[in-house]
């Protein structure tokens, strides 16, 4: 039963997903939409299992002070920090407060005479408030035409709450708009955004940028015309490299044409063969799973 049930489920769902491709009925599509949704849920759950697995693998190595245990501390510490700052603490602890408010005051006779209305903005210096079409920074007094005024306020930095509202003003009306958006926590919170922008993104880009140095070093040390095949590879690589940058066209207009021929005919032809081969292999593997012949995904003893 331990292995039969998963195999039966695999056969059932696999067959259904193949058959539904050919049945354009909404009821069939509804069921497959649910199956795909389950797939998404399982994929998301895999992150949780992955997280538990990382702790299970690295924690004993840290405890035993195995080689490079310091890096593992950094790994666990970084993961913990990102997880903590990614939680919506304020809504979890119930400490959320309104980012702003607007209130009408007594009308001013002077403004009635000039057919205008006035909005007094009370906000810290780093808060940008838009009062209808006007945008002001910090505390200001704005005189505008009466009507329904759209109000928006947010801090210059990202990761803070924003205030949005409307107020209806008649001629002579005076209103106060106060905004003091709080720092947000969670996926779009200030700390997580800062860590992403100033630590993760530069580190990630640096790793990719190092590729240029590896390529230059590898080109010098390993790219040798040891035989005819290697010489052909070398020649093609130089032509394509030159043609992929604007300098190729500057040297001679024949280079891009030659490069296009190499890529469109030789490279694409072989790439297409690889794609077709991989597709046939995927169909064969899929059939083996659907028919219950392939069971390695169920574990070693299945």
């Amino acid at each position: 039963m331990k292995s039969t049930l998963p195999v039966m489920l695999g056969v059932l769902v696999g067959c259904y997903m193949v058959v539904e491709y050919f049945i354009p009925h909404y009821a069939v599509r509804d069921v497959s939409a649910h199956v795909l949704e389950w797939g998404g849920i399982v994929a998301a759950a895999a992150y949780v299992i992955g997280g538990i697995n990382v702790v299970q693998v690295t924690w004993p190595k840290i405890r035993r002070r195995e080689s490079d245990w310091g890096y593992k501390v950094v790994l666990l510490g970084s993961a913990a920090i990102m997880a903590i700052v990614g939680l919506p603490w304020r809504s979890m602890t119930g400490t959320t407060r309104e980012p702003g408010w607007a209130m009408r005051l007594a009308p001013s006779p002077e403004l009635v005479r000039s057919h205008r209305a006035r909005v007094i903005v009370e906000a810290p210096d780093d808060v940008i408030t838009s009062v209808g079409p006007r945008m002001v920074a910090g505390p200001k007094i704005v005189t505008i035409d009466p009507g329904e005024i759209v109000l928006k306020a947010g801090r210059r930095a990202v990761g803070y709450d924003t205030f949005e509202g409307k107020i209806s003003l008649r001629e002579g009306d005076v209103a106060v708009v106060a905004a003091d958006p709080q720092m947000a926590w969670g996926a779009n919170g200030r700390v997580r955004t800062w860590l992403y922008n100033y630590i993760f993104a530069p580190c990630n880009a640096t790793m990719f940028a190092l590729l240029a140095f590896f390529v230059a070093s590898a080109a010098f040390r390993a790219f040798r015309a040891r035989n005819v095949e290697a010489a052909l590879l070398l020649g093609s690589a130089i032509i394509v490299l030159l043609a992929q940058a604007p300098i190729g066209r500057w040297i001679t207009t024949a280079l891009p044409h030659l490069s296009d021929w190499i890529l469109d005919i030789l490279s694409n032809g072989s790439r297409r063969a690889i794609i077709m081969g991989a597709a046939v292999g995927a169909i064969a593997t899929g059939l083996r799973v659907i028919l219950g012949i392939e069971r390695s995904h169920l574990g070693g003893d299945a």
Binding site: Y21, R29, D30, S32, A33, L36, E37, G39, G40, A43, A44, Y47, V158, A187, N188, R192, T193, Y196, N197, F200, A201, P202, N204, A205, M207, F208, A209, A212, F213, V215, A216, S217, A219, F220, R221, A222, F223, R224, A225, R226, L234, A237, I238, L241, L242, Q244, A245, P246, I247, R249, W250, P256, D260, L263, D264, S267, N268, R271, R272, I275
Partner: protein, 275 residues
């Protein structure tokens, strides 16, 4: 290598940039759109690939906004959401090239309003499953809401979007898997989608067969392609600046190959003489 890449950023070579057919085809596919058409932009990338893909993204968003199309953004990469949010703030919420922008020859664009002119659907985990799900029932995949919780039903032009086939064009900003290749393999033929893609230079050979087969209407190849696209849109910017570094960087690699081979044959000859 470091000098070869950094110096041209300060002392530009200014070599002419001529768009390739693949880039022109991608540009033309966007030009065929009409005001009010709805376009899906799938941002499947991480910060590592921004140097190659960001110039194209900025150029194509300017082109799309100039055309007056409605935009829906999503991502299949878990590393992408903060980057996407930042790019939306920098390029969609504000004009990229307002009137009077120096060096810009095209029509000015305007600031798009969130949930009015564009929506950000957010990230969903599930890779190919999500592509298939979006093909069958897109609102269901995103729980009927945008990333900020606005019901899709409240956005008039999103009411007509039931699946991927309802978009006039898919713009795939793709740094790897899942990305443009998976969109082609899992959804293009099934839903008869019109798609253009930008990818990193190393992945271009993966997508070129699909362009030849007509499954991708156009492919923009890495930084060089992005620079070509900027020239076509009429706003040379970070892509054109980076293309100079590409010239000198490729030059250094070729010099390294030649020098390595000269040393190889010289040592071979010396060995032969000794024996």
């Amino acid at each position: 290598m470091a000098f070869a890449i950094v110096i041209p950023l300060y002392i530009p070579l200014g070599l002419p940039i001529k768009p390739r057919p693949m880039t022109k085809a991608a540009f033309n596919a966007v030009e065929e759109l009409n005001a009010g058409d709805v376009v899906l932009v799938s941002m499947d990338l991480d910060p590592a690939s921004t140097a190659e893909l960001e110039p194209y993204y900025r150029a194509v968003i300017l082109q799309l906004k100039r055309k007056g199309v409605k935009l829906a953004f999503t991502t299949l990469w878990y590393q992408a959401p903060p980057l996407v949010e930042r790019w939306l703030r920098d390029t969609v919420d504000v004009p990229i090239a307002p009137g009077g922008t120096p060096g810009y020859t095209g029509l000015p664009d305007r600031a798009y309003v969130r949930n009015q002119d564009y929506v950000y659907l957010g990230f969903r985990e599930g890779k190919q499953n999500i592509i298939l799900g979006m093909g069958a029932d897109l609102p269901h995949v995103f729980g009927g809401k945008t990333d900020d919780g606005t019901p899709l039903e409240d956005i008039p032009w999103m009411k007509n979007i039931h699946g991927l086939s309802d978009f006039k064009l898919l713009v795939l900003v793709s740094a790897g898997a899942p990305g443009a290749k998976e969109y082609v393999q899992f959804a293009q033929n099934r839903y008869n989608l019109r798609m253009v893609a930008v990818t990193t230079a190393v992945s271009v050979t993966d997508l070129a067969p699909y362009y030849q087969a007509g499954q991708l209407l156009g492919v923009v190849a890495g930084l060089a392609g992005s620079a070509e696209y900027e020239v076509m849109v009429g706003r040379p910017s970070i892509g054109v600046e980076g293309a100079d570094g590409l010239n000198t960087g490729h030059g250094v690699v070729i010099i390294a190959i030649v020098l390595g081979n000269v040393a190889f044959f010289a040592s071979k000859r010396a060995k032969r003489k000794k024996s």
